[in-house]
Symmetry: C2
Subunit: 374 residues, 2 copies
Amino acid sequence: MAFTGRELRSKVDEDGRLVLTLEQVEIPDPADDEIVVRVEAAPINPSDLGLLLGPADLSTLEPASGDGPALSMRVPERSLPGLKGRIGESLPVGNEGAGTVVAAGRDAQALEGQRVGLIGGAMYADYRRIKAREVIPLPAGASARDGAAMFVNPLTAQSFVETARSESHAAIIHTAAASNLGQMLQKLCLADGIPLINIVRSTQQAEILRAIGATYVLNSKDEDFFERLIDAIAETGATVAFDAIGGGTLGGTILTAMERAAVRTMSEYSRYGSDTFKQLYVYGMLDPSPTTFNRGPIGFGFSISGWLLFPFLQKAGSEVAARLRARVVDELTTTFASKYTRVIGLAEALQPDVLRSYARMATGEKFLIDPTLG
Amino acid sequence: MAFTGRELRSKVDEDGRLVLTLEQVEIPDPADDEIVVRVEAAPINPSDLGLLLGPADLSTLEPASGDGPALSMRVPERSLPGLKGRIGESLPVGNEGAGTVVAAGRDAQALEGQRVGLIGGAMYADYRRIKAREVIPLPAGASARDGAAMFVNPLTAQSFVETARSESHAAIIHTAAASNLGQMLQKLCLADGIPLINIVRSTQQAEILRAIGATYVLNSKDEDFFERLIDAIAETGATVAFDAIGGGTLGGTILTAMERAAVRTMSEYSRYGSDTFKQLYVYGMLDPSPTTFNRGPIGFGFSISGWLLFPFLQKAGSEVAARLRARVVDELTTTFASKYTRVIGLAEALQPDVLRSYARMATGEKFLIDPTLG
């Protein structure tokens, strides 16, 4: 028996409009090694918004014609060249999710009826066909909502720690640190005894982190932020930072503070700066404006690099990946628990006011899509 | 018998003035494993100017009081924090040079009277005492001027190639490419069959490179520069760039062009960009203004890193370093020949008009200090 269901799609037209639609699609029967999952929970992560909305201008949002709910908005002219590869392509959205196995191929019968977490895109849909080996059965008692976000944030938080360890950094700096991911990272660092310097932009965000036991929480809007950052780096030996923001000057400020902390301990002047190697990983684009930094005060021992989860996992190898996944299952409802402030149906995701809300990515707010709600 | 001679010193005072002086110093007798070299040639490299003049404002240049020639200039207030480590320290200058061994310790007698090249600072002086194992005897027939710049540029050019090879880059991009170093790099890449994309800022600079056989020479002031850069990258597969400029937007433009070339060959759209890893090494500061780049069009597979010769050589190990040095000696007057447009005495280096000339680092101009001229 084949399933029919809705699938959320995002498409950029030749004329520079981004159109969101709910398409009716037929799910082919699963192959021997496949299953079909009824999606019951899928988070809206910042990384999903990149594909869903891209650089579209939300102020131009308007209903579009279509068989079902449909929205349209304009992509600024200057952003179009970067989207060349997706123009005209109708792309399914939703990195990860969880649900119940409603059909299973011959070799995957054991999963029938089980609740699983899965990753691989196209999760903003009623059904998702997928290889059986790509899902993780949820532990007993865990709901679909518990398992909806068991990949991206839990693996990213752990991979930050793996990266820091494998490159011999004694402590970590994290920006936009009150995010769901940031809270997980703090819990993880507390459990593993790794000093973490959290950088936030409001007292509200600072409190979220202090409530889970954070020692170092710096508000970048405080007047003495830079001096306190140097002190915290000097105390912890942090020489790696993971930056979700990307744009502006914060990344450069962090590298400069690392250098200042390093120079404090130097006995001899060098015009090339300290020989402490300072690494900034940019893993997000909360601020899409240009990145600006001064090299002089940073010295030459630095690197600013892009960081993405899947290339990291691929490089780290299957043993490391398996170890990180196992820990997610073990600590699914503790270290890696996500809190959602709003649960919406699939059609609701295409209501203009709802879309504007989740697109804002406000502090403490996190949306979950449950397609069974309608 | 001990020697007495002049030594050029640079010092930043507490009150923010940079003072250049010629000090009379006594050279202690060499230890058993040491020699004393009479310096006969020492180049003024861009890297020397960093220590000699730092961020001082040349428009404030004026004679200073002292026993010999002395100059003073103001360091802008905003640059002082970065110089903290050198305030009050009288620093000798001059990375490398060549000359004749005029005294040798018991274990270094074989070098007595020989012409040698040497590196290690304090070369803008009449005499330099140094460990015998740190000098390289010049090949027969080579003058001190031939050997004056046998370390910094020849080792840097070769180390660029070593870096590119060890990181599996198929071709190299170089900015400020008509420099002395850039010409060496082009000769080296031609000899070793490595495609090199030279970026210059004038037709005069382009001609210098074409004259030595360069295939790819792009003028960043040309209107179609960006498109031609993408084409050249697509042709050569260049995924590493060495950038002497540092400030401004050129580095980001290079990474963007690399990404555009990579995306051309992609069959499927990814909002994270291509999986081609793109490396920008910043090794100079010709433009001290901030570095600015847009991450969006670059994707996440990039790194912008500082690059310095000596940390590279240290990491590469003594075998590699020995191999690179041996090649310099073998090709001293061919691949690694430096041309000087002006030879000045040590006292002349402290004449305001002369200083302004070499501080300009104009295209095709290169200064050599010969302390024996006075």
